[in-house]
């Protein structure tokens, strides 16, 4: 450390400025730096919050056909804690976790939780499975746009299951590649419903 904060200014201002003044100056510079760092950290948090809000808005902007071909807008569930689960019948881990979603929809539906399935699959297979497990929440058929959205949210390989949880204000609160464990889902919903 040969060029500490006291030495550099002294070289720049060989006459007139006292050592004390220089120290104060460097303190000031330091203070500004700390404030700038705090601002930058704050800005990063804002950006992150912004990104979560933007991603959430993109999810809520989706309009997808249901199993009978009727267009369904996710925006109708704005204000709910929305659990959007990408799945397919050809994905065994997906099918395994869905009965748990059915149970939580029953338990927490009245508290403001809404599950929505987005099936990356053929409609007839989806219909069969929905009937078989008595699915109690809507299933929509996800095409190219839905897959691209899941990729944009961090699921580059478009693997399944992939679940996005939105808070009541529409921000992305959690994304999960692979199964969402019951305890994890419960604590997430508890926080978001509070």
């Amino acid at each position: 450390m040969s060029s500490g904060p006291d030495e550099t200014p002294r070289a720049s201002f060989p006459s007139g400025l006292s050592h004390r003044r220089l120290s104060r100056r460097s303190l000031l510079v330091g203070g500004v730096a700390v404030a700038a760092a705090a601002l930058a950290a704050g800005a990063a948090l804002f950006r992150q919050r912004d990104a979560r809000a933007r991603e959430g808005a993109a999810v809520l902007a989706m309009v997808l056909p249901d199993v009978d071909g009727r267009d369904t807008a996710l925006a109708q569930w704005r204000g709910k804690v929305l659990v959007v689960n990408f799945w397919a019948t050809w994905c065994a881990p997906c099918r395994e976790e869905m009965p748990q979603f059915v149970a939580v929809q029953t338990r927490d539906g009245a508290k403001g939780v809404q599950f929505v399935g987005i099936a990356v699959d053929q409609v007839d297979k989806v219909k069969d499975f929905v009937k078989e497990i008595r699915l109690n929440y809507p299933v929509l058929i996800g095409g190219f746009g839905a897959i691209e959205l899941s990729k944009a949210l961090g699921n580059d390989l478009a693997a399944l299951p992939f679940t996005i949880v939105l808070g009541r204000t529409g921000e992305v609160a959690h994304t999960q590649l692979g199964q969402l464990k019951a305890a994890q889902l419960d604590s997430l919903l508890k926080t978001l419903l509070a």
Partner: protein
Amino acid sequence: MWLLAAPAFASALAAGLSAQTKLLPPEEAFRLSARALDATTIEARFDVADGYYLYRDRIHFSLGPAVTLSTDLPAGTRKHDEFFGDVETYRGPVTIRVRLPGATPAGRPLVLHADSQGCADAGVCYPPNPQTLEVPVPAAGQKPGAFVEAAAPKKSWFK
């Protein structure tokens, strides 16, 4: 409130992503190569990486979308599936005979399309994975051609 919540969300998100970064892309998890044994038979080979498996009944070969090719798929490991009944899966290397509808003229490579779908033991499944191979066909009476690897994957399986 968000000041407190944001870092928690960030770590939750990171947890989801880190699980993903360990996943191989499908073309590496299910490495595909093929060679022509003669003008009417292709030998295709999947090298399934450790910790991954392919579904036997979701493997299809075709010449373009219109011509589905018949295959000799070896028996896989039988596994009971509550929805689909018994399903068979492949792990490790698996060799599949693919029959061409007629003799292919030598000299021009045959464009073989393969579709496969598999999962990782980590608990995720990949969407159907279309791949294309350009397989050189040997002239009549010549030795089988060399194995060729599948071309780089298409950007999206919907495109």
